[in-house]
Amino acid sequence: MVSPQGKRRIEISPVTRVEGHGKVTIHLDEDNRVTQARLHIVEFRGFERFIQGRPFWEMPVAVQRLCGICPVSHHLCAAKAVDHIVGGENLTPTAEKMRRLMHYGQMFQSHSLHFFHLASPDLLFGFDADPATRNVVGIIRSNKPLAYQAIMMRKFGQEVIRATAGKKIHGTGAIPGGINKNLSVAERDALLAELETMKKWSREAVELARRYTLDNLEEVGRFASFDSSYMSIIRSDGAMDLYNGGLRAIDRDGKTIFDHVPNERYLDYIAEGVRDWSYMKFPFFTSIGEEDGWYRVGPLARVNACDFIDTPGAEAARKEFKSLTGGKPNHMTMAYHWARMIEVLHSIEAIEKLLADPDLQGTDLVASGPRRREGVGIIEAPRGTLFHHYRVGDDDLVTMCNLIVSTTSNNEAMNRSVRRVAEDCLSGAAEITEGMLNRIEVAIRAYDPCLSCATHALGRMPLIAELVSADGRVIDRKVKES
């Protein structure tokens, strides 16, 4: 790539061994001021082509191959889409509750993994701590109980998935119009035995994230932060709903942009922009336009957008979260972590409610109705709103598939966070410092981007940073394994 005239360019490149990779480039002017910062992610679109010509009922199982990190979210989202094809979107109570249980299990294990393995070293040791200790091994050395909790919480979430999908990864639970199994009493009781412990640890995790935010408010408040709009699905009464609901978008002041948009109408409200420098698209609200219509998704968006959470512990935590910003949306990028832990607590409380529900032992598993040629499924995946959209011919084979993954929705926001960090760290300096690298990594990590999902690359981010002068010479280079 040719540098813009008279500008220096710093490149930070995640190195991966599979197709697709990300890269950060930071453009400087002659005075080493940041003019531009970009996160490049190579989007893997092969899948949409691959599944064309395949029967629609394969989608929920086949799409799990899209992502090694949140296959369950793709599984459920594709199932929600093909429910419409078989006219079975009004699920039986057993099917809906089994799917929800699976989904909360996925949310619980994914968020736990992210927080304890990836984020907590940043939070507990500080951004500038030696990378040799600022990692999960450091957590294990310095805080054994926390490391143990992380493993056990992840395991619990995986057991929920196994009990609902048949396997910990790449199960088959959700089928068009329903589910293929109920929850046996033995499976239920095995999960119940762990429940109180999981709730306790979830409350402690919320407290850890809250304390971190409040104790470091000055830094957290500005780090990689900026005002933005937010989007998530929402229950009809305004409650947080991670599994089902219409689309809600709010602006930076919390005012409604659109609300309760039926899933099948998403294309009337969201479009995807393209930019010549990135393979990954830039979704935006059509009513606002490409320039200013970008938004954020994920835990921060959901906690900002909902009116309440229908489980007590998470609702109390949400109120505290909202009080910090006087009821207005919280725009702190690092508050993603706090919001994520509120969702961990919500998920375990929702699991508790479900396990007490005898519908899970029901035997009416599949619904059907009039056949349709098109189906849209939208779900709140751990990383944010996920869209699956299929069109199917009369012969049942898929003719069109459109996916918008969470990380794509956060594309613009991640770019802005990188730019914000670059401005804070780099201006006036012509070299790549360890602190700058760390901070860029921490900022991107707050979004928990699923590079795997968007790019088919692994979810790891070793970084290479290159400082390139205006004439294209590499004048500084740093490598960071992670």
Partner: protein
């Protein structure tokens, strides 16, 4: 039954009757000889060679070779097991098999045999042939990507359904499953209740939208390996899978 006699299979003496194949005699005594192109109830043709055994030292297909008095049969030798393994591996690489999301997973005889034979990953390179999917029929889907050309559908349609829905075109590596119509399954007399639809050992002929109805863990070969029903309750079985 004065004309009955005995043979030995892997050192075990078992009864057999004139005209009975080695495979059938073994099965009746609870000995499972792997097979793919053969299934109970239709004429054996000896196409896949997975049932290869040595009978009195000679290499034969157990599904077609009649047992004879005092015949000495070897089946579970290192040599024969290794041949079977190679045959099964070749079937995998000659088609487009994605077990990880194939709806036949857990009840597929090809996959079941691969597990039984201890095949983790094929050592040959996949050919990735271009094959057609025929979804024209309202209730049946034909996915040639997974067809292993065993001919069970052809024989079942002809001999049991009396229909001649299926056949083959081309030779060698270009051989393909064909339907008895200009082009599409929808234009044949195929019906979802035909026995031929259930005769396919792999996921090449399937009822539409019945996929993944059985949870992982409850599928036939999750519960026990292919062939186990023959070994544990011979009289109940059809083709190494559970009778049902």
């Amino acid at each position: 039954m004065s004309d009955r006699f005995t043979i030995t299979v892997d050192g075990r003496e078992i009864p057999a009757a004139p005209g009975q194949t080695i495979l059938a005699a073994a099965q009746a005594s609870g000995i499972y000889i792997p097979r793919l192109c053969h299934m109970d109830g239709i004429e054996p043709v000896g196409a896949c060679r997975v049932c290869t055994v040595r009978a009195n030292g000679r290499v034969v297909a157990a599904c077609t070779q009649p047992a004879t008095a005092s015949m000495v049969v070897q089946s579970q030798t290192d040599e024969l097991v290794s041949w079977r393994r190679q045959l099964v591996e070749m079937l995998f690489v000659e088609g487009n098999h994605f077990c990880m999301f194939c709806e036949k997973s857990g009840s597929c005889e090809l996959q079941g045999l691969a597990y039984r034979l201890g095949i983790a990953a094929p050592r040959y390179e996949s050919i990735w042939p271009r094959r057609e999917v025929d979804a024209s029929h309202p209730d049946i889907i034909l996915d040639r990507n997974r067809c292993i050309l065993c001919g069970r559908c052809e024989r079942t349609s002809r001999d049991l359904d009396g229909k001649h829905v299926f056949g083959f075109v081309g030779r060698g590596i270009h051989k393909r499953l064909a339907v008895n119509a200009r082009a599409r399954l929808a234009d044949t007399g195929a019906d979802v209740t035909d026995l031929a639809i259930g005769a396919c050992p792999v996921g090449a002929i399937l009822r539409k939208n019945r996929a993944y109805r059985t949870p992982v863990g409850d599928r036939p070969f999750d519960r026990e390996p292919i062939g186990a029903p023959v070994e544990t309750r011979a009289e109940l079985t059809i083709n190494g899978g559970p009778a049902s």
